[in-house]
Symmetry: C2
Subunit: 404 residues, 2 copies
């Protein structure tokens, strides 16, 4: 159950970035569940992490190690190593040490990431046992397997590959992500790994990532729950022949736009694969007085179980959308100034149903798999977009049976 | 589908308060859908209304008429008269005028209330046609029919009746309410009507209601959606032989406590009858630094679809509760200071699973219909309670099929 085209693209190799994965038996599937990404020496690396006050152990370690010029990412799926207390911290640190030993590096150069069930001990011996094989098989071409290895309840692997041309030389940007549930990223998504061969210093790379994440992963929501393990990493190997990217240049603008596009596509893929999703809803809030209020209105609509179930049922029950706008907490909003559209069909105008609205027109839009809800607040000129999906029986089923 | 004992109690008559209802065909059921409550002359009346920015037309009219010593409440179910623009305002005002004509009163003495589908015109002619019959049959004993007449997707009528003794004389307090969906009242619940024969001035009555609502209806949530039509009314006929209740007296304290109890029981009944509910969750947040942060943590847990589906599945997936606490937006929260209990079973302590916790013990609690989740934040001494229910297939079914 996923909305629309979800095929995995051809991933161009990113010079300086190699990947390897294996099945360590952490997840109860035949899919790989441990992934290592290796960056060339001199790479720079940026990352953003969950704003959940209760970060998982690997998030604490990755945040600290980000300052030590990381060379390796060690990722496991099937277990989040969250809510695991002191043992969890020890396990995260030990798993980094295991990898450092195999690659002949230092433990602080490893960023650990975990995703899966909360509150269970991580089987680090299982991870240890597969590391030599993984390192032996590191390759530029393992992107598809890597995208599969980080999946949990995702129904398809998510990847984007983009090559940009700068004065006859190329920069490649690849990204993979996973999502599905507990998705309302706040400063980062569940897990997103983006790699490029661009040469760019760490602080500029960090700015570039933060900006892209704010407009992509931070604008999607499946169920309003922010994970304890959210993280998004942008690695730059510096192996491209394009000269170093400097702040304020045209090259930076092009590069930054490309990173934004990759993030937006990965974020959209997460919503398309939202747990139980049958519809993709693009909520565009226009004429807002500020970005903050636009996002607030967009997310209030996106989180409403009544709106989400109405979309699941293809029911143009616009009263629920209007009620959500009304309770978003925007002060001095005037109902008479608000307009509501489903795609191009105007539903609400002048405080009530638009004169020319017909149920048939609304129904026709609702029957689609992808729908744009546009709310014009009549308060200003700011526009923001939030992506979400519907709430189906399947969502309840998946989450009621998650651990069984 | 409702949780626990939901039988309708014996309702004592409230001197000075008469009720009458009829089936006007607004709702597509055989149940009555129009209710009139008449207060004796000299009654006082307090009310609180939804904080949704887009109030329904009847809410606007009721707010205004509250200042004109109301004598009648005119309530219909099946149609919310919300999102109906100017026509909706005209309809609300006209329906008040119709009632005033039948009873020989003034339209401004009528408070109108509507609940049901949003965005459709109210058939006020249907209401008009049943008013003479209703007024002819006003009676002290119609509480059960009244509670049934205000139901929408509720599966049982909700009522509480309480008699308190003051120096050998009695005061009766009756309440009825309706809820089921779009339930996260904010300053009032969906619809609650409470009547007493106490003699008490309007401003003290308003204080009493506001306090009771804050700790009852404003502490429950089914789906996090705040309705456009929420309202709660407290009527006092003054017909009791107990002398007028004055501020700061012991009698006021007893009366106020009784009103609070009635409101809490009505609020709990709404959660027990939450759409698709199979479990009642009482979320107690202790050791908070303030009431605001306690309620915030409680509501974040209560709104998490992941928590709600885990409870539906009777799965002690406490990681989801912990993740919700973590994303509640409370600053400087320390995971190591937080404790989590399911009933008496301690699950989380010292940042991870409690040493003595067993899945069996957690499972045993989860198998119950009613469960108390206690979160101790380790930050202060404030305690607040939030009530909610689980998220089931039935919730999706009810809301996907609401208009069909």
């Amino acid at each position: 159950m996923a909305v629309g085209q979800c095929s995995f693209p051809v991933m161009h190799p990113v010079p300086g970035i190699t990947l390897g994965s294996a099945n360590a038996g952490i997840k109860q599937t035949v899919r790989d569940d441990v992934l290592v990404i290796q960056m060339a020496e001199q790479s720079t690396c940026a990352a953003v992490f969950t704003q959940n006050a209760f970060c998982a152990a690997p998030v604490h370690v990755a945040k600290a190690n980000l300052l030590h010029a990381p060379r390796w990412l060690l990722i496991n799926s099937g277990n989040a190593n969250a809510g695991t207390g002191e043992q969890g911290m020890t396990d995260a640190l030990t798993s980094c040490a295991y990898l450092a030993e195999v690659v002949g590096g230092v433990a602080t150069q490893v960023l650990p990431f975990s995703t899966g069930v909360i509150g269970q001990s991580l089987a680090i011996d299982k991870i240890k046992s597969v590391l030599p094989t993984i390192i032996n098989n590191l390759s530029l071409d393992n992107w598809t397997k890597a995208a599969q290895a980080i999946m949990t309840t995702d129904t398809f692997p998510k990847g984007v590959s983009k090559v940009i041309d700068i004065d006859g030389q190329t920069i490649t940007i690849n990204g993979i992500s996973k999502g599905a549930g507990m998705i309302q990223p706040n400063m980062a998504t569940m897990l997103g790994f983006i790699a490029t061969d661009a040469k760019i210093n760490q602080s500029l790379l960090q700015n570039c990532l933060a900006l892209a994440v704010e407009q992509s992963f931070n604008r999607i929501t499946v169920d309003g729950d922010t994970s304890t393990n959210d993280a998004c990493v942008l690695m730059a190997s510096g192996c491209s022949l394009v000269p170093e990217i400097k702040q304020g240049t045209e090259t930076y603008r092009i590069f930054s736009d490309a990173v934004m596009t990759v993030c937006k596509q990965l974020a959209e893929a997460i919503v398309r694969d939202g747990e139980g999703a049958t519809k993709l809803m693009r909520i565009v809030v226009e004429q807002a007085a500020s970005a903050e209020e636009a996002v607030r209105v967009g997310k209030t609509i996106a989180h409403s179980p009544l709106v989400k179930t109405a979309f699941f049922a293809s029911d143009p029950n616009w009263g629920r959308i209007l009620a959500a706008v009304g309770r978003a907490g925007v002060e001095n909003m005037v109902l008479e100034h608000v307009q509501l559209y489903l795609d191009e069909v105007c539903i609400v105008r002048n405080g009530g149903r638009a004169d020319d609205y017909t149920e048939e027109a609304g129904q026709q839009v609702m029957n689609q798999e992808e729908i744009t809800i546009t709310v014009k607040l009549g308060r200003g000129s700011t526009v923001q977009e939030v992506l979400t999906c519907d709430l189906s029986y399947e969502y309840v089923k998946i989450n009621a049976e998650y651990r069984t």
